[in-house]
């Protein structure tokens, strides 16, 4: 069971699903869910400004109801929307930076993911 001081089980489950879409794994890299992604997650949430954390929790709660395939479609939609210039694209970019920043931080900060191929020492 994953535990967090900041997110509930539903929200944590959403992170796992988003992580699977963004980092599904290759022959060399593990899939997001196979890593110890939750180990240090509270350090990230603790550092977020309170309104950012509140916004993230709402988004995760909503996404938690979607199956994996729908989350994939949602993220593709967000990635496309982020390309729109000006204010219209702003909410897409905010969501994109927020979610990719979170997932890539949880994923690539783990030595288990990076050690075999890039860690200098």
């Amino acid at each position: 069971m994953i535990y967090s001081r900041f997110l509930n089980q539903r929200e944590l489950c959403a992170i796992k699903k988003i992580g699977e879409v963004l980092c599904p794994g290759t022959t060399n890299l593990p899939s997001f869910s196979k890593t110890d992604w939750s180990h240090n997650a509270d350090t990230v949430f603790e550092a977020l400004p309170s309104d950012d954390l509140a916004g993230l929790k709402i988004l995760l709660w909503l996404l938690s109801f979607l199956p994996l395939s729908f989350i994939s479609v949602f993220l593709k939609f967000i990635f496309s929307g982020a390309e729109i210039k000006g204010l219209l694209g702003t909410p897409f970019r905010l969501i994109k930076v927020g979610l990719t920043g979170l997932i890539y931080t949880l994923y690539y900060s783990q030595e288990r993911v990076t050690t075999p191929w890039i860690k200098p020492n």
Partner: protein, 466 residues
């Protein structure tokens, strides 16, 4: 604590705050430094990117402008930017200084007046030209590309003692603080000197508001124990950077008194480009940066190039793809070279703040800036093509980490915030000398000039107070 026990209080412990604390303490003043971030040192610096981003920066790692097109990296730790930067030291040229004089009408912004303070700063820091014999694959590609394209470059000078590369040290690690005490971060150099002379550093202490009274400054903040605290100080120096100083003054009600407050904000937007090579580049090993462009045509066009790299999380944020496509590209991390174009931005941004003290940063590129960016990116394409890159990726996430302006210096109080005595217009007790006073973007790494200006300010401030 602090009620009139100190002669002066400095808000912020980065490059400016630390040099000011050291110089004022050397002059016999009792100095209190308040820093919003935590105290780390060589033995306690974060060991991974997650902890580093979360613990060493505001906003949990990155803040965004209002259109989410620019990531703002704002350090938050004792030592400030000097803990997480690459400690590059560059003097400003006449182009930068004359544009400052034009914008500010401040006459001492010239080479002759600043040089003694640049020299003086070097007495407190060890410096080295990055040893070219230790250059990594990324630097070799940069140098080779410059040679093939007939561009001019120079070796970077860095505030470092001895990185002992032969022992397997890698400067990519010191983006989260240098664990071997080679990088001359303020927390192990000037601030340490200040502390030896009696300066007290309180961290984490977040200043929320200041009020200037006839007899003193009242400083309101949240202290180390999470409690509200008021400190009374005869004088205050704001040294928490462009965004920190501006937000503090806005939340202290200075917007009407200082019409230029929060305006003239610049960031030197930086765009990282990746070249993927067939052979290993290992850009993450050894010295992270070795060269900078030194081509007069680049300077004229308003951009500069440097060989840089970043740890995996930062590199991952540059890639446009998602899913397996993204991971396959990340698998080529050790085959990637990286060059960044740093734009000398001409379109000033604006800093505002929410009541809770969260910055609202309006900052976009205008036509000139976009042209400069385009010229820089085209130049990088030339370099990567000339050196045989198999694939070229334009990073999708530009960053601003040279945060300048918001409290610009100038003679005219209607168009500037700080006067030539480094004092807020119409204030007797509030001073400022860090990058927030920059009148515009110099297009040169600002750190060394912040040191020089802060030393000059220390001389003026101590003269005024005495």
């Amino acid at each position: 604590m602090g009620n009139k026990n100190f002669d002066i209080t400095i808000v912020g412990s980065g490059v400016s705050g630390s040099f000011l604390a050291q110089d004022l303490a050397r002059g016999g003043m009792k100095v209190l430094v308040l820093e919003a971030g935590f105290h780390f040192g060589p033995k306690t610096y974060p060991k991974d990117e997650l902890t580093a981003n979360s613990k060493l920066y505001w906003g949990g790692g990155v803040e965004l402008n209002t259109t989410a097109t620019l990531g703002i990296l704002r350090p938050k730790t004792v030592g400030g930017g000097s803990v997480v930067n690459q400690a590059l030291l560059d003097r400003f040229d006449e182009d930068a200084l004359s544009s400052w004089r034009d914008a500010s009408e401040v006459s001492f912004l010239n080479k002759d007046d600043l040089d003694p303070f640049y020299d003086s700063a070097l007495k407190d820091l060890a410096t080295q030209k990055i040893p070219v014999e230790h250059q990594n694959g990324n630097a070799r590609i940069f140098a080779s590309g410059f040679q093939k394209c007939n561009y001019k470059l120079d070796v970077l000078t860095r505030a470092q003692k001895d990185c002992r590369y032969h022992e397997g040290n890698h400067c990519i690690n010191c983006l989260a603080g240098c664990p071997i005490e080679s990088k001359q971060s303020m927390n192990i150099t000037t601030l340490k000197n200040a502390e030896k002379l009696g300066t007290v550093v309180r961290a984490p202490f977040r200043v929320l508001k200041i009020e200037e009274k006839n007899e003193a400054i009242e400083i309101y903040g949240i202290n180390e124990f999470g409690g509200a605290e008021k400190i009374i100080s005869p004088q205050i120096i704001l040294a928490s950077g462009a965004i920190g100083n501006t937000v503090l003054l806005l939340n202290s009600g200075y917007e009407k008194k200082l019409p230029a407050l929060g305006k003239n904000f610049y960031t030197h937007p930086q765009y990282m480009m990746l070249g993927v090579y067939k052979e290993k580049v290992n850009a993450h090993l050894g010295p992270l940066q070795t060269y900078k462009s030194n081509d007069p045509s680049f300077r004229k066009k308003g951009f500069k190039l440097e060989n840089v790299f970043a740890p995996p999380v930062a590199i991952s944020m540059l890639l446009p793809q998602m899913g397996k496509e993204h991971l396959h590209l990340m698998e080529k991390y050790t085959n990637m070279a990286c060059i960044e174009v740093c734009v000398r931005d001409t379109n000033p941004g604006t800093i505002k703040a929410t009541k809770a003290g969260k910055p609202i940063i309006q900052k976009e590129l205008n036509k000139t800036d976009l042209e400069r960016k385009k010229d820089g990116i085209e130049t990088i394409y030339n370099i990567f093509h000339a050196t045989g890159a198999k694939e070229i990726i334009e990073g999708i996430f530009p960053i601003g980490l040279h945060l300048m302006g918001g409290c610009n210096i100038g003679v005219d109080g209607s168009r500037s915030v700080v006067n030539p005595d480094f004092q807020l217009h119409n204030s007797r007790r509030i001073f400022c000398a860090d990058s927030s006073i920059f009148p515009n973007a110099p297009g040169i790494n600002p750190s060394f000039t912040i040191m020089a200006l802060s030393q000059m300010a220390a001389t003026k401030i101590s003269g005024k107070i005495k």
